[in-house]
């Protein structure tokens, strides 16, 4: 369905071309990054993954340090018990009765449902194929739990990508968000992330999914008298549990 609204592409671009005094075709100087072929991208990506693997211990520490600076409450869990303990305490502290989570692989590793339901909270998977006993409006949830696709040590950022079973709203609607991070998901820098996503795009024949969200700490605003207020439209409290190395 291509509706023509406004100026046609041809005439718009022709006038830009005229403004530039260009005759069309390839850029004047060839721009190296766009000339790179798939095999070179793959090579760079595999080098990156190698490096990340070697540095994992250090990167996990760095992620924890920076994430804390960025406003996350960070827990580096020593083992799976410690992860569950943290979640238990979080539920007690927030007194959350309604919890939403996404449907991700990580929840097979971290059995949050049993834990939370055992404590009397309702858990609802926010996905078309719903599960859990939760018959409540997700908008009224007090806690949202997600895994991440990546976490970036440089910026203390959790990266979420769309997949089946992952609603964009789990990390956005509830006032408290908990992100579970596996050490293998930790990247060093923004550059690592963009390289891997770019590879994904070209590997898939030109698709990397509909969105990619960076979450770095709680939502905030300083729009009135430049006074920082934590908790604008998104969560006011964000927790990151970095699971123990397997």
């Amino acid at each position: 369905m291509a509706e023509l609204l406004g100026t046609s592409k041809e005439s718009f671009i022709a006038s830009v071309r005229q403004s530039l005094g260009r005759t069309g075709g390839e850029p004047d100087e060839r721009y190296a990054p766009l000339q790179e072929d798939l095999s070179s991208l793959e090579e760079r990506a595999s080098n990156t993954l190698e490096r990340l693997k070697k540095d994992r211990g250090r990167l996990v520490e760095e992620l924890a340090r920076v994430a804390e600076l960025q406003g996350w409450k960070v827990c580096q869990a020593a083992n799976s018990e410690a992860t569950l303990d943290y979640i238990r305490e979080l539920l007690q502290e927030t007194k959350a009765k309604r919890v939403v989570r996404s449907d991700q692989e990580i929840f097979r590793q971290v059995p949050v449902d049993e834990l939370l339901e055992g404590m009397g909270a309702q858990v609802q998977v926010m996905a078309r194929e719903q599960s859990g006993d939760g018959e409540f409006d997700p908008a009224s949830a007090e806690l949202g739990i997600t895994g991440v696709d990546y976490a970036i040590a440089e910026t203390g950022t959790a990266v979420l990508l769309p997949r089946k079973g992952i609603s964009r709203l789990v990390s956005l609607l509830p006032p408290v968000h908990l992100a579970l991070v596996r050490p293998t998901e930790v990247l060093e820098s923004l550059d690592d992330l963009y390289l891997l996503r770019r590879l994904e795009y070209h590997r898939n024949g030109g698709d990397m999914g509909s969105y990619m969200n960076f979450i770095t700490g709680p939502s905030r605003t300083a729009d009135i008298e430049q006074t920082l207020v934590i908790g604008a439209h998104g969560p006011r409290e964000t927790h990151m549990v970095i699971l123990a190395q397997e």
Binding site: G6, I13, S210, P218, I224, E225, H233
Partner: protein, 480 residues
């Protein structure tokens, strides 16, 4: 197009200077911004910062020099992602496009995340007229919308409002009386807006970057409203100037380090949202339709002039506003159009017409601070000079800024400075003439034109009792 009041710069700035409340607000807040920016650069290390600036500038230069190529690429890739791209030559056309999308799909409630281009288009009144309710969801923009004003600053649109102003506004417009502290106000706005955010059928956003290679739109926000706008409504319309392009996804690594640091002194903002088209069939949620509206609206005039093209490298961080001594005094509204401050003084005249904005290129002391702080090293002073030259040399008398009198003065000055004898004679005469004008060591007013106007808002230091040439001859020169 948004109402153009650039002609009134002089009047508006005199008014701003006399506004004690505004002056105290500006005095209090302008320093904070730049302090945060400097700290963030220290943390990254100044060397790394310089490296990023050079890279960012080179990428922007390359993209703008080959913009036709990258627009074509972006079009293909957004289309491939399942989105639709529309092109608008001017504000009117851009409004029509957004209007037609809303009308043909029967959309009623539009949540908006900050978009300067939608300010250029005066989109909100247009939507209201056709029965679509536009709601600004960035707190600053929301305040401005309630007050029916225009943004005061690129990234802090409501910075001219005190908390008392906001409290009163919320009482009158959203029936939330007696809000005392800022947290309560933000809370009230959150409550009112939450209902809109979850019920809207149309999302409208701007863009911080457009990645040609992958057809990706990037939004940088702190509040989370941008995420709502791109997740909840069934139709997403993003409106952007055509200069927002960058070639590769990997270029974002550079700009993500530059923008948050220059804008708010953050390592990164709370949210960065990358949108590559509408939801796919497997996605749990997200917009069914994604429209990208690419707007020219005078930008090709900037593109066309090799001397002004670099103004389009701007990533709208606001750092040049925060450092500018003129902006510090007159604030954002005096500039009279969507883009204030040093960068506004370059782009507004070209976008609205130079003859309507003759004062703007002169609203600068050419101190160069804007260029020094700019994350893309945009040479704003050079462009301001270029516009001044254009004004001075224009054959069209409605454009010409320089009067015959000024031309004569310039001639006289040249003569004076090239003759040492004449200079020293004038100096001696001047010292005599200034005597009756001195008040507490300064010349406060000169009672005859053209000087009377000049001294209306300025004090003039008197001529020194000994000219430098004499001091040099008697003393300094001998000490060498």
């Amino acid at each position: 197009m948004a109402e153009v009041k650039t002609q009134e710069f002089q009047r508006a700035s005199v008014k701003a200077l006399a506004d004690a409340k505004l002056q105290s607000l500006l005095g209090r807040s302008m320093g904070t911004f730049d302090g945060a920016r400097q700290e963030a650069i220290e943390e990254l290390t100044p060397q790394r910062w310089e490296e990023m600036r050079e890279k960012g500038r080179a990428i922007k230069r390359h993209t703008l020099d080959n913009l036709d190529y990258y627009l074509e690429l972006l079009y293909d890739r957004v289309t491939q992602n399942g989105g639709q791209v529309h092109f608008a030559r001017d504000a009117q056309e851009a409004r029509n496009i957004v209007g037609q999308i809303a009308r043909s799909r029967g959309l009623k409630l539009a949540i908006k995340s900050k978009s300067m281009v939608s300010e250029e288009m005066s989109l909100n009144p247009y939507l209201e007229e056709m029965g679509v309710e536009p709601v600004e969801t960035d707190l600053g923009e929301y305040i401005i919308q309630l007050a029916q004003e225009t943004p005061f600053h690129i990234i802090a649109p409501a910075m001219h409002k005190t908390k008392e102003d906001v409290s009163q506004l919320f009482e009158e417009k959203i029936q939330r009386p007696n809000l005392k502290n800022i947290e309560e106000m933000a809370g009230a706005a959150r409550e009112v807006l939450r209902e809109k955010l979850v019920n809207a059928d149309m999302g409208i956003t701007g863009a911080n970057f457009l990645v040609a290679e992958t057809g990706t739109l990037v939004l940088v926000t702190n509040e989370g409203n941008g995420r709502f706008c791109t997740s909840v409504p069934r139709v997403l319309v993003s409106i952007t100037g055509m200069e927002k392009l960058i070639p590769s996804l990997e270029d974002l690594g550079v700009f993500m380090r530059l923008l948050p640091r220059a804008a708010t002194g953050q390592r990164i903002t709370s949210y960065v949202t990358h949108v590559s088209g509408p939801r796919r069939s497997d996605d749990e949620d997200g917009p069914e339709e994604f429209h990208l509206v690419i707007v020219d609206n005078g930008r090709s005039r900037l593109l066309q002039d090799p001397d002004l093209r670099e103004s389009l490298y701007c990533i709208r961080c606001g750092a040049c506003l925060n450092i500018c001594p003129v902006y510090h005094k007159v604030g954002g509204h005096a500039y009279g159009w969507v883009y204030p401050g040093p960068i506004g003084a370059v782009v507004s005249p070209v976008m609205v017409g130079l003859n309507k904005a003759k004062d703007l290129p002169h609203a600068s002391s050419l101190c160069g601070a804007c260029r020094d702080v700019c994350p893309i090293k945009i040479n704003i002073p050079r462009m301001l000079l270029k516009l001044r030259t254009q004004l001075a040399e224009s054959s069209d008398s409605t454009q010409r800024k320089v009067s015959i009198g000024e031309k004569l003065m310039a001639k006289g000055y040249r003569r004076l400075m090239s003759s040492p004898k004449l200079l020293s004679l004038t100096h001696r005469l001047g010292r005599l003439a200034q005597r009756p004008l001195l008040r507490k060591g300064l010349i406060r007013t000169i009672p005859f034109p053209p000087f009377s106007r000049w001294t209306r808002s300025r004090d003039l230091p008197p001529l020194a009792s000994k000219p430098f040439r004499q001091i040099w001859a008697e003393k300094l020169g001998k000490e060498r």
